[in-house]
């Protein structure tokens, strides 16, 4: 029988494109013959904004990239600036930074689990995920007053010190999460339908994944033992005991399981930080902002809000929850960056998607897309 292919335009407004992404699909019945990803609907010109703001002013804009997990964005940019300007950071500040970033990794993966299961049609997990996420967000709120867009990490340290009773509350959260993760595994991992939908779907082997620029948990699901926290250790990660989670099945299920394991590792890291949090300054007093409360006003004058790194360029990257988040910052010796380039994990991970889903069906596209875990703010910048 003669049939013709159907051009299906999924998105930019569609329930499971996680924002404003658009797939141009050439369908043969239910089977995807060709998938083209169209992005750019959330482009806000962040890189151009970076050229027009001072180094400190640009920090809040980084929050808006990956708004599910904003702390690593803050940190990645600040790390680039610090490397460029040679700013030293007190040890306590580094501990706080890693604390908030690992907490954000858990938050990100909770949202990931929820939205993935929602994409597959099981709507309960997202509520469970959000319930636990809420506790983490309250921790953030007590820390910096914001729940999603923090503007917390500054060149030279962090904006404010930990509030009283933060560590006990953190321990409570850890204890709670340690009980919850097995719950989720009970709900999801043993579900035959879930396994049917995830196993051998969206397979991409290690070589192709690397070639397509995949990073982070998605890459580790393809059996590449690669975690920037391990291979290019930054901050206090060399002192911490954790392992890079990895699976070698290369399919959607592997990418999912890697993230569940990562949540456990992050909890382990948080525990260590809670045990060993050093005393000291939370910000290098030569650089950064004054604390809003509690600090002697005299030191205000020591804190330049505007500083000029030497002319030069840096590409600095960290392991964000979604993958390699890099900032290229070029300075021309003025108070504003000459050029800011954001290498966002979501953007590069999407390159591999058409390859992963060719020949599969629409529901598989949704599942595979869900396991890549993109945030459109991060893709379009």
């Amino acid at each position: 029988m003669e049939t013709e292919t159907l051009l299906l335009n999924m998105g930019p407004v569609h329930p499971s494109t996680h924002g404003v992404l658009r797939f141009k699909l050439r369908m043969d019945g239910e089977i995807i013959r060709d998938c083209q990803v169209v992005v750019g609907y959330l482009h806000r010109g962040t890189e151009k904004l970076g050229e027009m703001k001072t180094y400190l002013q640009f920090v809040p804009y980084t929050d808006r990239l990956d708004y599910i997990a904003a702390m690593p964005n803050n940190y990645s940019y600040v790390k680039a600036v610090e490397e460029l300007a040679g700013i030293e950071v007190p040890l306590r500040a580094e501990y706080i930074r890693v604390l908030v970033m690992e907490l954000n990794r858990i938050v990100n993966h909770l949202v990931f689990m929820g939205s993935l299961l929602l994409d597959l049609g099981a709507s309960t997990m997202i509520m469970y995920g959000f319930r636990e996420r809420e506790k983490a967000l309250q921790l953030y709120e007590s820390l910096c007053g914001a729940r999603m867009t923090f503007n917390y990490i500054r060149p030279g340290g962090v904006r404010e010190d930990l509030p009283d009773g933060f560590i006990p509350k953190l321990r409570e959260f850890i204890k709670d999460m340690e009980k919850r993760i097995p719950d989720y595994e009970d709900l999801i991992n043993g579900n035959e339908i879930f396994l049917m939908r995830m196993k051998n779907i969206g397979v991409i082997n290690a070589e192709e994944a690397i070639n397509s620029g995949m990073t982070g948990p998605s890459l580790r699901g393809s059996g590449v033992d690669y975690d920037i926290r391990k291979v290019e250790p930054y901050s206090i990660y060399p002192d911490l005991d954790f392992k890079a989670c990895m699976r070698s099945e290369c399919d959607s299920l592997a990418r999912y399981l890697v993230r569940v394991d990562e949540m456990r590792e992050s909890l382990h890291i948080l525990e260590q930080i809670a045990d060993t949090m050093p005393e000291g300054k939370f910000i290098n007093q030569r650089y950064g902002m004054a604390p809003t409360t509690g600090a002697p006003t005299a030191v205000m004058s020591f804190f330049p809000r505007i500083f000029t790194p030497r002319a030069g360029e840096v590409y600095s990257r960290i392991e964000a929850p979604k993958g390699e988040l890099g900032f290229y910052v070029a300075s021309d010796g003025t108070t504003k960056p000459y050029r800011v380039k954001i290498r966002s994990p979501s953007f590069c991970n999407l390159v591999a998607l058409p390859k992963m889903v060719a020949g599969l069906k629409i529901p598989d596209l949704i599942a595979a897309f869900g396991t890549i875990d993109v945030v459109l703010g991060d893709v379009d910048r």
Partner: protein, 373 residues
């Protein structure tokens, strides 16, 4: 055993109303009044209209309650509250929703086929409503005890995919079309095991009448195990349950409207009252199919008679309890499991369910011919 020409029909709702009127002593007066006019048939029409009205009101109230129940259950499973503001514990939420839907603009897409687009939701709703006719809610509480009740139910259920196809095609939307095609593929592949497992029960009963099926399930084995077909046909029950959930199009088999893939499937383009019709049909269908499961496998309205209460009432209560148990199961399923893929569903239907259903039928035939039961 099938006798071929059973003359005594089982009592239905019409007879019940007549009996009630007789019991309070007004039936003969009214009948006399109409006989004097020479228009006896008018009384019959009135009684039938009353039955229809009661059925419609019942279905509407059930749909409202079910939509509330579903949201509430969903909320409890997800550790939320669910609707709380309108009425006691949000009980009037469905009414508010209904008013909202009434007030919505009724949009017909410019390139849609207007007539079919308008017709489709009504066809869906009517076809679902017709399923209620041979459904025994209790002893004598049945609109009409058709001799081919089971066949009728299966036949009417097969109208639903046609109306879904109408809706999907007329919308002139790719998502709608794909949803409709999925719905048809799914319904065809699941009506077959559904019918075969139902036939296995008919082999035992020897009648297609739903009331006969229920009557065959009254009594006990060894004095305590109720003679429900679920115990006689456990495999058949599981197959029938799966096929029914697929037929209803609920998670894990809700392909016709799988919202993460096809936005809303065949009713993507519908709004306002037309959407409400689909909504009504969906929940009415849920109740009807659960009722059918109860009738065929869970003993229908049978149960121990209570003293001083007419069995018509207790049987209704038994039926409701059982039906809501099945509905509860369907809702619970929706809250917990993800959706399977369309090809996996069709594989399950054709490669596993149909052979098993045939095996089940064979076993039933063996048991009956060997005279075990």
């Amino acid at each position: 055993m099938w006798t071929g020409d059973k003359m005594i029909t089982n009592p239905n709702a019409y007879d019940l109303i007549v009996a009630i009127l007789n019991a309070i002593g007004v039936y003969n007066i009214i009948l006399g009044f109409f006989q004097d006019l020479g228009m006896e048939y008018i009384l019959r029409v009135i009684i039938v209209l009353v039955i229809i009205a009661v059925l419609l009101v019942f279905v509407l109230l059930t749909v409202m309650f079910l939509s509330w129940l579903e949201r509430k259950m969903f909320a409890v499973v997800q550790s939320r509250y669910g609707p709380m503001v309108t009425g006691p514990r949000g009980l009037f939420q469905p009414i508010a929703d209904g008013i909202k839907l009434l007030g919505k603009e009724d949009i017909i897409p410019a390139k849609a086929d207007r007539w079919i687009f308008t017709l489709a939701p009504f066809v869906v709703f009517v076809s679902v409503l017709l399923v209620f006719i041979p459904l025994p809610f209790g002893r004598s509480l049945i609109v009409s005890d058709l001799k081919v009740g089971l066949l009728y139910i299966i036949a009417i259920s097969a109208v639903t995919p046609i109306s879904i196809l109408l809706a999907g095609w007329a919308s002139n939307n790719k998502y709608s079309l794909m949803g409709a095609i999925r719905a048809v593929a799914q319904d065809i592949s699941y009506t077959i095991p559904l019918a075969i497992t139902a036939i296995a029960v008919v082999v035992f009963v020897g009648s297609l009448s739903t009331v006969d099926i229920v009557n065959a399930q009254s009594g006990y084995w060894f004095g305590f195990i109720p003679k429900w077909f679920i115990f006689l046909q456990p495999l058949g029950f599981i197959l029938f349950l799966i096929a029914c959930i697929a037929e209803m199009g609920r998670i894990p088999f809700d392909f016709q409207e799988s919202e993460q893939e096809l936005v809303a499937g065949f009713f993507t383009e519908y709004s306002g009252m037309k959407f409400a019709m689909f909504f009504l049909a969906e929940y009415a269908h849920l109740f009807a199919v659960s009722g059918i499961i109860v009738t065929i496998f869970l003993g229908g309205w049978t149960g121990p008679a209570l003293p001083f209460i007419p069995f018509e009432l207790t049987s209704l209560i038994y039926f409701m309890i059982k039906t809501y148990a099945v509905i509860f199961f369907a809702m619970w399923l929706r809250d917990t499991v993800p959706r399977v893929r369309i090809d996996q569903l069709l594989n399950l239907g054709w490669k596993i369910m149909i052979p098993l259903a045939l095996l089940n039928l064979l076993l039933a035939a063996f048991v009956v011919t060997a005279g075990v039961i």
